[in-house]
Amino acid sequence: MSKIMTVDVLSSIKGAQPSKAVNKLFEVIKKANTTNNNAFNNHNNAVSLNNLRDDVVIDSSATEKQIIIENFPKEKNGYLVVSKIIEE
């Protein structure tokens, strides 16, 4: 399998191509000045690990389970049907 993945494969969208409107935005970023700080130094969105919820299983309500099953796209003889997994 080729190691180069095109955006249509990455996006699971048939025939997808980069768009001109979006590329114009990216061109601005390429030309912008950045600070010398390593770009990995982004701490703005880190959240504290000191206040995590309890690591316990919480069972969904019967209504919740029923709706989840209702939302499943395909059912056959009481089983939920998914696509066959292919091997490459």
Binding site: L10, A21, K24
Partner: protein
């Protein structure tokens, strides 16, 4: 305008109106769907809840302030048992299995949900035209767009179909439609209100935001929805904002505005002159005003969209038709994913997903995505420094008045640029309120992180000043 919530509460308590009649009247208006604001009516649920409120009042029991108040919900929030479509083909038959924390808090306070409201699909848009339910029409002029992405919510409030509505703001999606329809719309500090149960667009800027016709109603709804939630690790504990605390403008000594937002060719001449006239009125009240330097609009928009697209590509990758959504069967698993996504996502959503995967892929991430993160850090730092100097930053909401329906879809790049004044505050995760004053599409009031109270305080001051 005075608080509608207080007025209706008083009318209910005085038995001037019944809750059932109030809810029925609003449902009848919404049913006509004149402005394409309705994705689904929650009529049975709403009338059921209204009857309970009436029974309580008839029994002489006291009711809470929000009890019996009808409201609308942007169709990206989970409300158990209701259709939650994100205005998309992919989820047009999807039912919420659970209820979003913010909405649950309103339900617990007794507010009555009337409607799931039209919006841009997955929040992808600034005009509420990217929807399978037809373009939302502006409340003031139906030939114009309702704004986006929470267009249906802003129009419903403006037309009095709902007393307040809950929108979602990632890059301006509450503030811009509020401005386009002359109502109030708040993007609180990121993390003040739980995002649990809000369909994710760009997780690092997604905010729950109330839209209403008065500052007082915004305050009431904000207080109810705020707070730490174990289901959203980014939430924090905040204190309630008191009505008296925001009634006077003392402590506001210095206001800033961004020079380059005003001194450029892209801004409409009237928006510019009205904004500058507002600045003069503020100066006349002996508040110091400072012109501040800021990043170019193009840099702000490009940084925001680069990060938002990367995040949405990741967030929406789960929508493949396997467990839910409109699956389209094909020869094998990968084909099923691809056909399902190709046929069910709108052109704008596809454009953003593809853009996001582009910047996250090897070879592009250093040059674009990581550089975008670095720019975001610089933007945040800039805000931090500004708020050491000024209390409030005032800006127009949009450079121009609302476009005609159909125009935004023709030129996506122009649509992205129309978000120039709102996206920076999203990247900074700052509290920002649109007020329907000052320019044709209103003004934005921004304060430092966690200082939502000051934003509301300054809004009260502006209401009396201009």
């Amino acid at each position: 305008m005075n608080s509608q919530i207080h007025n209706i509460h008083q009318q209910l308590m005085n038995k001037d109106i019944t809750c059932t009649a109030l809810v029925q009247e609003k449902l009848d208006l919404l049913k006509q769907n004149i402005n394409n604001t309705v994705n689904a009516l929650l009529d049975t649920l709403a009338l059921d809840l209204a009857a309970k409120v009436d029974a309580k009042i008839a029994n002489g029991e006291t009711i809470g302030l929000l009890e019996g108040i009808p409201f609308g919900i942007k169709d990206v929030y989970m409300v158990q048992g209701t259709y939650t479509t994100a205005s998309s083909d992919l989820l047009k038959n999807y039912k919420s299995a659970y209820t979003a924390t913010a909405i649950q808090k309103l339900l617990d306070a007794g507010a009555i949900p009337l409607v799931k409201e039209n919006c841009d699909s997955f929040g992808h848009g600034s005009s509420s035209e990217n929807t399978i339910f037809g373009a939302v029409k502006n409340a003031v002029n139906p030939d114009l767009v309702g704004g986006g992405s929470s267009g249906g919510s802003a129009v419903n409030v403006a037309k009095d179909y709902t007393v307040f509505s809950i929108g979602g703001d990632t890059g301006g999606s509450v503030r811009q439609p509020a401005g386009y329809n002359n109502v109030y719309g708040l993007k609180p500090t990121y993390g003040r209100i739980s995002r649990f149960g809000l369909m994710a667009y760009a997780s690092s800027t997604d905010c729950v935001g109330p839209i209403a016709k008065s500052i007082e109603d915004i305050r009431i709804v904000l207080n109810v929805m705020s707070g730490k939630d174990v289901k959203d690790q980014t939430t924090y504990t905040s204190t309630e904002i008191d009505q008296d605390a925001i009634s006077s403008s003392e402590n506001i000594k210095k206001v800033g505005y961004f020079k380059n937002f005003i001194e450029n060719d892209a801004i409409d001449a009237e928006v510019k002159s009205n904004f500058l006239a507002t600045i003069e009125k503020i100066k006349a009240k002996r508040i110091e005003v400072k012109a501040l330097d800021f990043f170019e609009s193009e840099t702000l928009v490009s940084t925001y969209y680069t990060l938002a697209m990367a995040e949405t590509a990741s967030n929406l990758s789960r929508l493949d038709g396997t467990n839910y959504g409109n699956r389209i069967e094909a020869d094998n698993l990968k084909e099923t994913y691809a056909v399902t996504r190709s046929e069910n996502f709108s052109e704008e959503s596809k454009r953003r997903i593809v853009g996001g995967n582009q910047v996250l892929s090897q070879g592009f991430s250093d040059e674009i995505y990581l550089k975008g993160l670095n720019l975001r850090d610089q933007i945040s730092k800039n805000f931090e420094n500004d708020f050491k100097d000024v209390d409030i930053i005032l800006s127009p909401v949009t450079p121009n008045t609302p476009p005609k329906i159909g125009d935004s879809l023709k030129d996506p790049h122009a649509m992205y640029l129309s978000d120039a004044y709102t996206v920076g505050f999203s990247l900074g995760q700052l509290p920002t309120l649109t007020v329907p004053q000052g320019t044709a599409t209103g003004l934005q009031i921004t304060a430092a992180k966690h200082n939502d109270e000051l934003v509301l305080k300054f809004a009260n001051f502006l209401k009396d000043t201009i």
